[in-house]
């Protein structure tokens, strides 16, 4: 009987060593990269599905329970997923509050684009004061996100797991670099291609793959397309020969179709994040799907 107790106490003492690190990610893109680094030593929970506009996620009380038990919070930052802040406050979990070891803002170290200068207001639409937050759509930035997540995991992980995370992060980064070369090669023939999208979701993508971001169907971020703006955009697209419209999965198609009809451009529905389409179920397939769809449209 005494031996059984000894075994029981031994197992009890060992259990924390086998406990997985609980990571809560605001969006599936971050979850995908976290799983690449964390492997089977992390349990990843995603708060918002990938087929939603990440700007507009309604916080739910049930999300508080996930955050209460989390060791690490991984967020996009730059005010994109600020809906998580009220949930973190409600969770009472100081481990994941801003400035704590379990708080990971993946935008740290990103070379930010479209950072507004001077005084900003809603006159510019729903502008992000820290710049365009859709930075994960550049493989370069995927590497920075991975490094930020790794740094977070190293802060909270037991010392025995640290080498495991470092190795997996190295492996992810080297695979990403290889794939990025392939993706770049695939889009090289289309270098300088002008395109428009609904929202300005593809700035980092365009910069990395050397495409020319011509404009957006929204006149300003978050502001619905107006007749005057669409008319101007059609004229400009005709004049400049813009033949590609990238449409994020969650925006209405009618404005894109209207512009396509007038300009002869092709509308290509693309995922702007992991989970936005079934095929784009991880960080690698996200780029595969976008690039294949762009190539398909421009070839034909």
């Amino acid at each position: 009987m005494r031996n059984i107790w000894k075994v029981f106490i031994f197992l009890l003492l060992l259990s924390p060593a086998f406990a997985k690190i609980k990571v809560v990610c605001t969006l599936p893109t971050l979850s995908s990269i976290t799983k690449e680094i964390g492997g089977d030593k992390v349990e990843v929970i995603t708060l918002a599905p990938g087929d939603r506009d990440p700007h507009y996620v309604e916080p739910r009380p049930s999300m508080v329970v996930n955050l209460r038990d989390a060791d690490l919070l991984v967020k996009v930052g730059m005010d994109l997923d600020m809906w998580v802040d009220a949930l973190v406050d409600a969770s009472r979990n100081t481990k994941i509050m801003w400035g704590s070891p379990g708080y990971v803002d993946c935008s740290v170290g990103i070379k930010k684009l479209e950072v507004p200068k001077g005084r900003v207001s809603m006159k510019e639409g729903e502008i992000h004061i820290y710049g365009n937050p859709h930075y994960w759509l550049s493989p370069d930035n995927g590497e920075i996100i991975a490094k930020n997540i790794l740094a977070g995991l190293l802060r909270v992980a037991p010392s025995g797991d640290k080498e495991y995370f470092k190795k997996r992060a190295d492996s992810f980064i080297s695979r990403l670099r290889e794939k990025a070369k392939e993706w770049k090669e695939e889009l090289r023939p289309y270098k300088g291609t002008k395109f428009v999208s609904y929202h300005r979701s593809f700035s980092y993508f365009a910069k990395y793959f050397e495409l020319d971001y011509f404009g957006t169907l929204e006149p300003k971020p978050g502001i619905p397309p107006s007749t005057a703006h669409i008319a101007n955009l059609i004229n400009d697209m005709k004049r400049e020969g813009v033949k590609l419209i990238l449409l994020e999965t969650y925006y209405p198609r009618k404005f894109a179709d209207m512009v396509a009809k007038e300009t002869g451009a092709k509308v290509v529905v693309v995922p702007s994040a992991v989970g936005a389409m079934k095929e784009a179920d991880n960080y690698f397939s996200l780029f595969d799907v976008i690039i294949n769809r762009i190539k398909g449209a421009l070839k034909g």
Binding site: D53, R68, D79, A86, D89, R92, T94, G125, I129
Partner: protein, 356 residues
Amino acid sequence: MRHIVLLSLLVLALLPLTFAQNENTTSEEETPPPPRGSIMKALQLPEISIVGNIYSLFSSNKEDEDRNKVKLEEVELALQSWIYPTIRGDVIMSIHEHINPATGERESHAHIEEGYVSFLNLGKGFTLKAGRMRVGLGKENPIHPHHRLYVDNPSILTTLFSEHGLISDGATLSYLFPTKTFTQLDLSTWQVVFPEAGEGMPGLEKTLHTARLWISTPYKDGELESGISGARGAGDEPVKIYGFDMTFKRWPSAFGRDLLRTEFFKAKHSTDKVSGWYLLGAHKFTKYWEGALRLDNSELVGGGREKALSLIASNYMTETSILRFEYQYADNPSGADNRFWVQVIFGMGPHAHPLE
């Protein structure tokens, strides 16, 4: 010796400057931006925001003083910041018109609607809020008017808590149960500030103790929330209020949302007994448009009953600016009334409220 003293004083005077310079050279790359980002540079300023609420009421009731006028209903000025790593401070000032119960005249009031500190981690799942707050009795009362899906309040809330809701000075101890289902218990003690004497339910003008149990769980592709609330006044003739609320929300598409909410209240005082409910259904068609329907059925303080049907359409221009239309048919002891509101809510600056 005097030089040494002068040199020491100079060094001491320069020390804060040295530290300040060190702080300024901390690059953005090393420090993540603060949550609810509004502070671009290292300024020790709170987040400042303003929310305005303007409406125009057209009513068949010729005795309604607000009829056929454009009215600034309220301006909310919010100052919000962290005051310690786990403590937040929130001050929300409200400027609005208010009927003076003594004279019956409309007067402009500027008052602190809320001003409280939130101790967000007392350990073991507890938090504490102290100061002036919208009382957490039921689902809608704690929600600020500009966050609601309609222009006017449901009859039962106006009957019990007056036009501007139940606002009190006090403290709330909140406990998040360590369960897989979100379960939170709030226990509070208050000195009622609003409604003022003569408004709302009799007996509310004194000390009040409230409790609310809030449970929420994912259900299918949505979330099912329910709450039970209770309040008991102090004094010789205490008021007792019981409430039940239930909300179901689902998000069938990227911007779509369906909401079904009901609240029931029963209040008892030696001079009055009031009960009532409302049922609210809303459907968000697109990113920009939402339609809603509300049914009200409430006894009134002093006798009688109001029944109302409201149809509401909201256009979300941005996250903080809304254009809203509401038609209401109401039947109460003074007769039947057709009302139509046009409302504009406008927001400036970063504005946040706790989880609602």
